[in-house]
Symmetry: D2
Subunit: 351 residues, 4 copies
């Protein structure tokens, strides 16, 4: 952290500011800036609220040298286990999570669950509570859908993940699912992030449409600060001027996240592209970029899906994607083929 | 709504699809498209979930001719009254809402409230629950802040507005405030929108950083669908590649919203620019663009603010902005100077 | 400028780097950074190519404290005179430039020119060479159009401006026009910028769809470096995710540019919005934001325009906009109503 | 193409419009729209200037059903040969083009050329004319650099590519290079596109920072319309709100372009990310996404590069990337592993 001081301060004023910093248990080094004096603050400055610094008389500006994410930035996080036997991150082989956008009925869910297991996916997704842009569109079967998800797990052995949009839904879903999903629309819902931070379940945290890498990491920090270290990050496309695809898949973000944190990172090519013709190529690209997994929308009859029909693929297409994933992962499984270890820490970025 | 049909359908298949549409109480007109047959659907199609149409066998694509916002699109909405005596929209003179980003203490709030009233603002803003990107930053005084807000109202007569981020906070805040604010980070939090839709209080709905005009209108529809018609829209800057300002203020959106709906539209130049040197010019521009009001962050000692210090202005600067607002509003108060009546309805846009 | 040095350098290595800086005629102050030693460079560092610094052995990174625009940043630039008697910037009243997107024929141009003069515009725009996204669309009448523009000037007394897209067109157009326009698509065409830098004619430089404020200023620097100080900047909308308007008008940029440079700044609401129903409100907003003028597309029969028909307005609408412009300008003509003097210089921004 | 007609037209007015369309050699089918009558135009409407339709009396709006790119859309384009023996696209194995951002000296270029050949690259890149945001930065050695490039070709056998920014540079460079590059900043420079359209040399066309897929295809159409069918498209990152990377690499665009056209598509991970730590992972991802090749900035001493130092990699790193590229390409070389044939044509997109 760098404090930019007022130009007109006397030497003793500046020394006094340095003392205040030191009383916080931090280091302070004074330097004469080009126009203004500066104080470099060393130590664990990032977990102090920044107004502690900005409100010191004589301080004009606080420059942070990285987002405040000590928990996310910790480098000793282990792979995360979901349900019985699914392991993600920490060097484990990439996994594929698949299932319908919405749970439409008991029958369609069980059919889809069997099909995605047969295709090689290791986990089932399915929407019970659906965030829809229009209030008139199908908003999910709610608790009933969660019951069907639990049945599907019993029948297939696949752990299940479903999105929650409120604390009330979180409490209900926790009875049924193996992993909680925070969707892109709620990544900035800090109350909800704090609430899942107190859960014992792993959390799939999706990047918001407008979130920078730094915003996403700080959202993860909210969860981890509550005590829940089982956070899986998910890139699902950001909003840009391009209209050919629903969003713009940002795979550089995957590589950046992998170098900035040891949390697992997966990719959702379905929401990123919004087009079923691009899912397979983007799945290949995501795994090649180093993602720890994929989450893909699958429907027995894609064009008949009650939501997100344009981006759903068939189980047959999923089978090919699972095979692609294994092939690419095998290609780079030797130590010598792995990407170099991270060269960056959060502290080297400027926010 | 236009349904694009499969090329290989027979005439009787197509006639059958038209019948299904008519059985929903809607009109159906069949036309031969350039490559695919089309069905134009007339009537109140937009409040049917779109999967009702997309799942009809033979339908390949559903093109909506506008977002589904019949409540927002209604043209007879009257001006909205907030607290005792503040009226916004419907041709009323533009108003200025001002106050601190965060309520920092009882003393600073009362001082600020007196100052903003003296400056000519008619309503007080103040954050009790603060959405902060970093979990380590100051997150507000909570209920205590709401109590101070109510005291400030007693002392100054100004109605008060404060942000809520969860249903629990909504319940608490409803005891104290005259208007509820849904912040940009929660515009896509549909559970919260539905909850404030059941409130009797007016709602200030801020556009999300990544929301299109259509997204914002549909968020308002969520609130109105619950029965609450007192929705005030707020443009507060969108995320773009430009880094000179915190966000990019989109004033075209103000003019567009004014032509698409009769809901009042206000502008938040503080969050849009993130820089106090641009607040006054953007306030002038917002009023000239036709905004019904402004919401501005004011602090007795801006650089000492516990949050958003870079964008807070002094009460003295606010006084000038209120004067500017009145002057510009007076300039265009004659009927002949008013902007023409809306030329668009939501149905003329394509989504 | 700050040079971030390698951590492993000895004190004498660092002193040696400081000496190299000083031999360039610049100041060098060594400070111990949090992790790496730093050298603050003072003096006219910004007009040295940055590789001069980055290539010094031991330098890891060069941080510039502002874009390199000493000519643009100079604060003594006077108002610019275009043709006979049109003055822009430097405190002059805002002006309105208007005319057709394309010069379609001699007759239509003369008719339009008379109409825009009658409406109160002081300068005529008209496209001779048209940059069109599709090569199959109308690309302008070329030199013939320039001849008509010169005729229109003779008949109306209005100075004329037209876009050039190549050095060849620049040479031809210079015979006919009073101001050269560099369009948004050529703002990064540095060869063309250098070429107009050698012209004696004023240059209207439009911001590219993806240009930051800093990019635009550096494009102006290219022109001024050639010796031509008569540069007028133009905000015309940037590309964002919003599709309701053709581009997103960024009026904060106008206020920012006015505080960063003394060059005149005008606004093109036609290209920014792409919709004739938004031109008047955005014109008002632009003038209220402090713009020195407007450039607007006008057509005798807007829906029949050969290019940009959706955004052309009638001469009658233009008359109202000119009146609005005068009223708003008069409102803030007193010294006490003027916006404060700039608080920023380029050097206070970080690039 | 769909023409939206004025509501108040009589049946005979509408029939008259249809006749006008038919006289252009196109088909016209009249349908009653929901509010306005419509005319569907069939046949080769897209190569008529769109004002031909918009200016017909009674026509209110022209909706194009795809960008006008008949040459780009043609499906029989063969692989492109560059210089002696380098083949790209049309099912050929992906290639790697590498070399310095700028040609800094004869010695460094020859050293780099030998190194990139040893690493397995098949073509040499090197900047002679450099578009630089700041006019004070190093702008290239010009013709001298081109001479060094030709020498490097003689010594290594690698064909060479270099950027041109003006018609004058195009004429000079054509004497030396095997492929001309149009950089991102000149993708909208239609005069230059038309000029390279008359060249016999292959053209590497980079996507502009703000270009949609449709814009890029239409830029290619400009070149092909001049007679030059040897166009290679290049994705190099677009401008978004994300600041962690220099630009945002849009790999969906690669897959989309491969389905929309048979032109080869390559990826520039250097400019897309601006960070050497992300080049290898993004190179893998690009090839996995289906790219026909990569163009990468390499420097013997990356941190000493005179331009783009942060993104240059070493020859050693390039060696690994070439190996990765071959492995991934081999993985999907069987017919059964290839991505499905395109499901889209340009005409199925809406602009």
């Amino acid at each position: 952290m760098i404090l930019v001081l007022n130009k007109s301060l006397s030497e003793s004023d500046i020394a006094d500011i340095a003392s205040q910093i030191e009383r916080l248990g931090l280091g302070a080094q004074i330097v004469g800036g080009q126009t203004n004096p500066l104080v470099f603050v060393s130590g664990n400055a990032q977990t102090h609220p920044s107004h502690i610094f900005s409100r010191i008389a004589g301080v004009e500006k606080v420059l942070k040298l990285g987002p405040a994410c000590p928990r996310v930035d910790a480098k000793d996080i282990r792979p995360i286990t979901i349900g019985q036997g699914v392991t993600i991150g920490g060097g484990a082989k990439p996994i594929v999570i698949a299932g319908p956008c919405s749970v439409e009925s008991q029958e369609m869910l069980l059919e889809t669950a069997q099909a995605v297991r047969a295709a090689g996916a290791v986990m089932l997704r399915g929407g019970a509570y659906k965030p829809r842009t229009s209030p008139y569109d199908f908003r999910g079967l709610g608790k009933l859908a969660l019951e069907y998800m639990a049945q599907a797990r019993s029948q297939t052995g696949l752990p299940v993940v479903s999105e929650v949009m409120s604390i009330e839904q979180l409490e209900i879903a926790s009875e049924y699912v193996d992993m909680l999903q925070i969707g892109a629309r709620n990544m900035y819902n800090y109350e909800l992030l704090s609430a899942v931070g107190k859960s014992k379940l792993p959390v799939l945290l999706k990047r918001a449409m407008s979130a920078t890498v730094s915003d996403l990491l700080q959202a993860a920090e909210y969860i981890m600060l509550g005590g829940n270290e089982k956070v899986i990050l998910c890139e699902r496309g950001i909003r840009t001027f391009e209209t050919y695809t629903r969003n713009t898949l940002d795979l550089s973000c995957v590589a950046a996240l992998k170098s900035l944190t040891n949390l697992p990172v997966i990719v959702d090519p379905s929401h990123a592209t919004g087009r079923r013709d691009l899912i397979r190529s983007m799945s290949r690209a995501a795994i090649a970029a180093g993602a720890d997994g994929l989450i893909i929308e699958v429907h027995p009859q894609p064009v008949r899906a009650m939501s997100d029909a344009a981006q759903a693929i068939t189980p047959a297409e999923l089978t090919k994607i699972v095979a692609d994933t294994r092939k690419i992962a095998d290609l780079f499984s030797d130590d010598t083929d792995k990407l170099e270890t991270p060269v960056l820490s959060l502290a080297s970025t400027v926010s």
